[in-house]
């Protein structure tokens, strides 16, 4: 064999004609063939209705009134000047922050406690995750049954504990109704935080703690300097996911307080539901929905896009 390339005499033939089979066409457009069904279905059920609703938001759409008069921004104005709407935004924000904060704290403590293996840990895990698989409506029902006067046992147990009779109207009396709502949400979603944070904890390499121990770091320092920073991506992910769900709070309100007393526990979702489907101010509800949608979309763009880059925790 010599050092130079062996010359190969003119081998370049014309490309052989291959039949344009369906299979070959499929292969070439494979990736688009795969996404087409799912994407068209989602488009049909989100883009078209959204465009339609954009029109609805600018007209007077009412089942009882024929014709759809263009009313410009009237519907939007009616929403943003509605004191109930403004109040519902406050309630939503307050409940969201309280719920997510409490769930994060409890979830973190629980995850730290559960990170070490012990006998029966598997069973405990299985019990702790049960709330995740229960419909929020039923969770609302649960807490209604627990708190409802005179049936629920909560007041009785509190009375025993405090040594005097307790007669709290949990579902109709501020601030107890808010506490009831938070209790139900915390019951259902603390396991969410717990499961994700536990997964984050167990993926921290144990060697760094051994190294830290040799460096004379105590447990508290190890938590602040090692555990928390390592866990941070997972905390951000879990909080983001929870935040985006928590702002949609509806089911528990529906079952526990019905927005009451009065409109004091209206969340944004509950408000829009009331306006649209109980009072049938369809255009006003649609306008409100658009405002809500834009706010959530901004929130998604802000929180999720940054989170779900390839370097997100894996």
């Amino acid at each position: 064999m010599t050092g130079t390339a062996l010359p190969i005499s003119g081998t370049a033939g014309p490309p052989r004609k291959r039949p344009q089979s369906l299979s070959a066409w499929n292969d070439r457009h494979f990736k688009w063939v795969l996404v087409a069904p799912a994407v068209s279905l989602v488009l049909a059920l989100s883009i078209y209705p959204l465009l339609f609703s954009l029109w609805v938001a600018f007209v007077n759409y009412d089942f009882s009134v024929p014709g759809h008069a263009f009313v410009a921004l009237d519907n939007f104005r009616r929403v943003v000047t509605d004191p109930v709407a403004i109040h519902s935004v406050g309630v939503t924000l307050g409940l969201t922050v309280a719920n997510v904060a409490i769930e994060l704290l409890l979830g973190l403590i629980l995850a730290l406690a559960m990170a070490k293996t012990f006998r029966g840990r598997g069973l405990v895990m299985t019990v702790l995750i049960v709330p995740l698989f229960i419909s929020p409506v039923i969770v609302g029902q649960f807490w209604a049954l627990l708190l409802q006067r005179p049936f629920g046992p909560t007041n009785f147990l509190l009375g025993k504990l405090l040594g005097h009779e307790v007669t709290i109207s949990w579902l109709t009396e501020a601030p107890w109704n808010f506490i009831a709502i938070i209790a139900a949400d915390v019951w259902q979603w603390t396991p969410f935080m717990f499961v994700l944070l536990l997964a984050g904890l167990t993926s921290i390499p144990p060697h760094i703690y051994e190294a830290a121990e040799l460096d004379g770091v105590d447990a508290w320092q190890a938590f602040w300097w090692l555990t928390l920073p390592q866990l941070m991506p997972m905390i951000l992910l879990a909080v983001t996911f929870r935040l985006l769900d928590a702002v949609k709070l509806f089911d528990v309100i529906f079952m526990l307080t019905g927005g009451g007393p009065g409109t004091s526990t209206y969340t944004v979702s509950y408000y829009l539901y009331q306006v649209g489907f109980q009072q049938f101010h369809i255009s006003q509800a649609t306008a409100g929905s658009w405002i809500f949608l834009i706010a959530i979309t901004l929130l998604i763009m802000l929180l999720v896009q940054r989170l779900l880059r390839p370097e997100a925790p894996r």
């Binding site: 064999m1 010599t2 050092g3 390339a5 081998t11 370049a12 490309p15 291959r18």
Partner: protein
């Protein structure tokens, strides 16, 4: 069996050019090794030949047919992947027979072919195992079995031994070489390991940054590297590079090291007309070309030096001894008992006729 001809091949990933223009002709039946550091484009080149990557520019011909737009399944090539890509949910038998089944061979024929391939590779007893039950040395055999059973016109290997330990790697290298001798089909083999390249190849294609740096027989590349890079890439321990300047002296050309403190005369036969006097050059001296001096006078073309040993790395049969020449460390591959301790001064003969000389600026051999 088929020859492969690649013309003006380019492959870009967005703005990044992985392959920047390759012309390569591989004759029928030859064992060609594509070698180079990671990121040199060798794997990309192989994958374009398999049809797993589209190409940006140029043509690929297999067996005289341009296959640019031919799907992998229709190219009649077989490939052994770096991780072997054994289908975890199929037995060894079904793994090996999968290609035949996909081509709708009758079951009896598949059985016969699979058994033949298994016999050739000595894995008959494993046919009913699942891939996860195989040992490190059995996996590449099954992967090779899956390739040969189809009797393709071209074999492609993508670093098939890089996940094995040293001993298995040596063993499998031998088997692949034997396989090629037996079936004599064109094979293209990608590796970053220069020893694999040297031992397996009929022809080495050494790549660097998406281009071919040099191609030729293994010994050709080893003994007559076209560039500084080739000389440095091949050979273990690595070749010694000595930077200096070319001196045209009355008694002949020489390389002056370390501001003329040391002058190494070049062989009379070496032509240096291409470069001017005082041109910065790099002299490449392989460790095995420095030996412990014996006899009164050095043989023709040898340079005798007395050196002080700074570092010793015994390997058993050989001892690598480091000394300084013109201020730069030089490794010599000596016999085990040529030198006994650090600090010892011994006479060595350096074979300057077999040294390589490179232009320091262009890296090209002179």
């Amino acid at each position: 069996m088929a020859q492969v001809k690649i013309t003006g091949l380019k492959k870009n990933y967005g703005a990044y050019a992985a392959v920047k223009g390759i012309d390569l002709a591989i004759p029928d039946g030859e064992f060609t090794v594509l070698v180079g550091p990671s990121g040199c484009g060798k794997s990309t080149l192989l994958r374009t030949i398999a049809g797993l990557e589209t190409i940006t520019e140029g043509t690929i011909e297999i067996g005289g047919e341009i296959v640019n737009d031919v799907r992998p399944r229709d190219r009649d090539v077989a490939m052994v992947f770096q991780d072997y890509a054994l289908y975890p949910h199929m037995s060894v038998k079904r793994n090996i027979g999968f290609g035949l089944k996909a081509r709708k061979f009758p079951a009896a024929e598949i059985d016969k072919q699979v058994n033949q391939a298994a016999a050739l590779l000595g894995i008959e007893s494993l046919l009913d195992s699942l891939p996860k039950q195989l040992s490190g040395g059995q996996r590449p055999r099954v992967a090779i079995g899956r390739a040969i059973v189809r009797n393709p016109q071209l074999f492609l290997f993508d670093e098939p031994l890089s996940n094995l330990d040293a001993q298995l790697r040596d063993e499998m290298r031998g088997e692949i070489k034997r396989l090629h001798q037996e079936i004599a089909t064109t094979m293209i083999y990608v590796t970053h390991d220069q020893i694999e390249a040297m031992t397996l190849a009929d022809r080495i294609v050494l790549m660097r940054e998406g281009l071919i740096e040099q191609q030729g027989s293994p010994l050709d590349l080893f003994e007559r590297p076209a560039t500084h890079f080739v000389a440095g890439f091949l050979g273990s321990p690595k070749i010694n590079f000595l930077s200096g300047r070319l001196r045209r002296l009355p008694e002949g050309d020489a390389v002056a090291l370390d501001g003329d403190s040391t002058t190494l005369p070049l062989a009379k036969s070496r032509r240096t007309d291409a470069i001017p006097n005082d041109c910065p050059v790099v002299l490449g001296v392989r460790p095995e070309h420095t030996t412990r001096a014996s006899g009164e006078r050095p043989a023709e073309g040898m340079l005798r030096l007395t050196v002080t040993i700074e570092l010793l790395q015994p390997t058993g049969s050989r001892t690598y001894a480091t000394f300084r020449l013109g201020g730069e460390p030089v490794v010599a591959e000596l016999q085990a008992h040529d030198v006994s301790r650090i600090g010892e001064s011994i006479p060595v003969d350096v074979d300057l006729r077999r040294a390589s000389l490179f232009d320091a600026q262009t890296g090209q051999a002179i």
